[in-house]
Structure formats: C-alpha cells, structure tokens
Amino acid sequence: MINFLLFPILITFVTGMLLIFFQKNIYVQRTVSLISLGAATICAFFVMLKVQLEGIQSVTFGNWPVPYGITMVADGVSTLLVFTSLLLTFFITWYSFGSIGKAREHFFYYPGIMFILTGINGAFTTGDIFNMFVFFEVLLMSSYLLIVLGGEKKQLRESIQYLLVNIISSALFVITVAYLYSVIGTLSMADISVKIAEINQPGIITTIAVLFLMVFGLKAAIFPLYFWLPSSYSAPPIPVLALFGALLTKVGVYAIMRTYTLFFVHDIAFTHQLLLVFAVLTIVAGCIGALAHFDVKQIIIYNIVIAVGVILFGVAQMNFAALEGAMFYLIHDMLIKAALFMLVGIIIYITGTSDLRKMGGLMKKYPSLGWFYLIAAFGLAGIPPLSGFVGKLLIVQGGFAAGNTWSSIFILASSLIVLLSVIRIFLYAFWGEEGQTVQIHQKTYKQLYYPTVILVILSIAYGVGAEWITPFMDGAARVLTDPSIYVDAVMKGAQP
C-alpha cells in the first residue's frame, strides 16, 4: 500500500475530528483517544520497519510528478521521530486521565492532543517546505489551545507571550520561504537540494540558511532565542508540559537538522561553525538556568535547553558518527524528558508544591518512585548502561573526529552539571527531613504512577538494547550524511 506512510498522521487527524462530536462524554474521549493512539503507534512501527527493509518511502499527492506536487517522505529520521512521538503521547494521554481534571477534559483537551500530533507528525514527514510551514501552524494552533485551556491567570499571562513569539517566528518563516522561492523557484525539498547544489550556494543562500536558523531556533529554543521558553512552559498543567517539553522543541531541532543536512551543505565553514557556536552557548545558558532554580519544573525545563544544544552540536559536526549520535540523543531526550516531567508531576502532586525547599523525606513513603526518579536522572546525565550514554558518546567521538577538541570536552563537562541539577531534586525531595505532603487519592496516584514507570523502563530498554536500535540509527544517519540518497529516492518515486 503506497499510502501506508500517511496512516500515523491520518489516524490522529480523523480521531481528533470525531472526538469533537462527543464533547461531554469523557469516557468515550478517553477510550477512543487511547485506542487510536495505540493503533497509530503500531502503524508507525510498521512504517519504520518497511523503511528499514525497503528504503525511503515517498508519496506525491494526486500523482503529480515530483517538484510539482506535495510529497510526503518517510525516511529513517522521520519514521523514528513519528514512532517515538506517538509512543510518548500514548503514555502522556494515559497519565492525563489522573491529572488533567474533568473541566479541561470537557473542553476539547483530547482533540487538542490529536491535532497537535497531526501537526508534529506531518512536520516530520513532509517533503515540501511550505507544507512544513502549514503543519507547523497546525501544531502551533493546537499548542495555543492546550497552553491556555483552563484560563488561570498565569496561563493567560504566559500564553500571550507564547503566541506573540510564535506569530513573529511564523511571519519570519513565510518571509524566508519567499526569499528561497525567489532564488530557487521551487518548494519541494528534494528539488531545492538539487538546485542549490547546481548553483553551488552563493552568498544569498547562506543568508537564507541563517534566516532558517533563526526561524527554527525560535521554535527549538537555541541561544539567544530561548528567552520565551522557561516562563511559557511553566504555565500549563503537567501533562501538557510533558507533551510540549518532549515534542515541540524537537520539531524545531528536526527542521534545523533537515535543512542543514539537505540544503545548506556547500558552505559548511560558515553555517555549521555558526551552529556550533550557538549550540555551545545554548548549553551554557541552559546550565546556568538549571542550577539557578529551586523550582522543580524550571530545572527540567532548562534541561530541555541543554539537550537542544547537545543535539545541535552533533548536527554541526557533519560527520557520520556525530549525526548518528545526534539521532540517538534526540530519541533518548524525547523519552527521558517526558518521563522526567511525569515524575516531577507526581512529586508536585504528592507535596502540593513545586518549591524544592519545602519538600523532603519522600523516600520513606514512596521508595519505588524515588528509585525510578534516580534511574531517570542517571539516564538523563548519560551513565553507561542507560539511555543517554550512546548518543553523547557518538556525538563527542564525532566532535573529536571533526577537530573540535575543546568544545567536545565542554560537552562532556556539561553532563556533570546536568547530573548535579537533577540529583539536587533527588536529594531535596527524597532524602532529609520530612517536608510537607498533602492528602492524596490512592487511585489517582496509581493512574499517574503506572504510565510513568513504564516510560522509565522503556528508556532503560533503549539504553540497554542500543545494539538492536543501532541499525535504525545507521539508516537515519546515512540519509543525513548523504543528501543524494534522499533526493534520488524522492525523484525516483515520482516516475510511474
């Protein structure tokens, strides 16, 4: 079936539309969204296997030849990301049964999740630059809904800022696409890659590359464009925060990865050096923020910024090892960030506060939660058998191979700060004197606990089973290092 790669997008989209009709029936909303997320995850898994076995899959709508129609492309990179984001959302949705509250569930919370996934998966899968803009808007519109849903004072305040930043970055995206169109005269990503290679990237294309870095950097929160992220992400409730933290910035990272490995590969000395400098500065900014705060949410939020810096450092090296490491680290970071936000959410739920200084002594009552948190924290920092290790190892290896010795050493050193920032939560919340706790409902606690623990176990499996995952990552990294694989597959797919 040639349209099989569209299933993960279509299933969530259709479900989102159907759920609008059952606004008040929470039971239907919950079951239908879980079932369809499960089905979409299974489809995404089979698409991933198909891509691994048969090579890049692509479909151009309406049977038009390639540069004239909109192409959807499933290669190693995008299928991995689509599969991971669906899998994560399955657990986050399960988690939100216990934590989001009836009032929000009545007002299109689940359709919001379905549409945000449509946008995210569409942005991962599309092969057309303007279509990517449209999918960005789909996911942004749903994120506006999710960030403001509930209408608390804090949410209203922060969502205005979030909307404004994204409106400006969307306008910049449109402007950049307009410049690119006037120089290249095409919108299909494969065709753009070919045409840029033909004219050998003159100065104007390098300018457009920097503009793209600004546009996607605003989404991905790189230094100095990350200023909106900490305050905006602290506003929405925990499951929405987990969804945003795990998925939204990663779409920006993916877009930078795609454009900087497919389009702008002829003036690496300038563009990728710039990316490297910004990546290092992003890590510095994130580290400062992660150490400065006593608020558990803020600590993990600044860890998002650090991880974005590490992944982009891998992309900036432009060699096989670093790109494979970047893919490993990207998937790891999506898994572990979702798990950490969910764990932190449980801690906030138990203690009734997000201030570290008011917590303490949770280990006596909740030992298993404490140990799972410790495992997740070690995984984030990259302790060997766990998930963060392989990615960072390969990124640093690629950094040394590319001759960036000092910045690679810096990446290693930043792991220590990451570890310190998350271990602080463990020490403050789980050891020490008994702090404040609130009376909690045992059933709700279980509803929060199970999806979180399964996600942590998955992240352990991701680290321990790296051997089995490596072929997929190899496939992804091959596409990233050699644009001609992507271009050939898409152009060939056009011939009937």
Partner: protein, 113 residues
C-alpha cells in the same frame, strides 16, 4: 516595480516592529497584523511581478502571473486570520481577568497565581 514594493514591505516591517515593542497589548496586536501584511506582500513580490493576465486558463493568453505565490498567500492569510482571531479573544480574556492591557503590568509576582 519590485524596488518600490521592497520599500513598502520594509516600511511595513519597520512599523510592525515599532508597534510590537510598545507596551499596550492592542498596539502589539496591530503590529502583528502589519507584520503579516508585510510578509504576504513580500511573497507576492518575490514571486516576480511580471505577467499581464491573471492566472486563469483562457483562450490566447500566454503571459500570465505566477500562480504559486498567490496560492501560498491565500494559505498564509487564512492562517494569520485564525491566529489573529485567537489572540484578540485571548487579549480580551486577559483584560477581563488581569484588569490591565499594559504588558509590563501583566507580569505580576510569582506568588499571586
């Protein structure tokens, strides 16, 4: 012609940025409106302003305007329209709840949530 349009777009961007940097929320929203106007005009200009006929299939017409930028603009306009409607309602709700439209006064302290 393209040069004049470039100046017009530049002026729109300038006005938009000035308005977005002001304190009143409504002025900021007017700024985003101007920003999207500038972006849409820029797509039209960047597609080239050549072509004497509209891109409609008719007898004997060979020199027509580039249809792609027009389709792109149409898409971008409805998206900008949806987002603007959302932010206007959001600003209205924020005014009801927070009793101010001054963005510096909106910050508040961390304790009054």
């Amino acid at each position: 012609m393209e040069i004049i349009m470039a100046f017009v777009c530049g002026f729109l961007f300038m006005a938009a940025i000035y308005l977005i940097l002001s304190r009143s929320l409504l002025r900021i929203i007017i700024g985003t409106g101007l920003l999207s106007h500038g972006a849409h005009l820029l797509i039209l200009t960047m597609g080239g302003l050549g072509g004497s006929a509209p891109p409609v299939l008719a007898e004997g017409v060979t020199d027509f305007a580039d249809p792609i930028p027009q389709a792109l603009i149409l898409t971008a306009i409805v998206i900008a329209f949806g987002v603007t409607a959302f932010i206007l309602v959001l600003a209205y709700r924020a005014y009801q709840e927070l009793q101010t439209d001054d963005t510096t006064a909106m910050k508040g302290s961390a304790t009054d949530d």
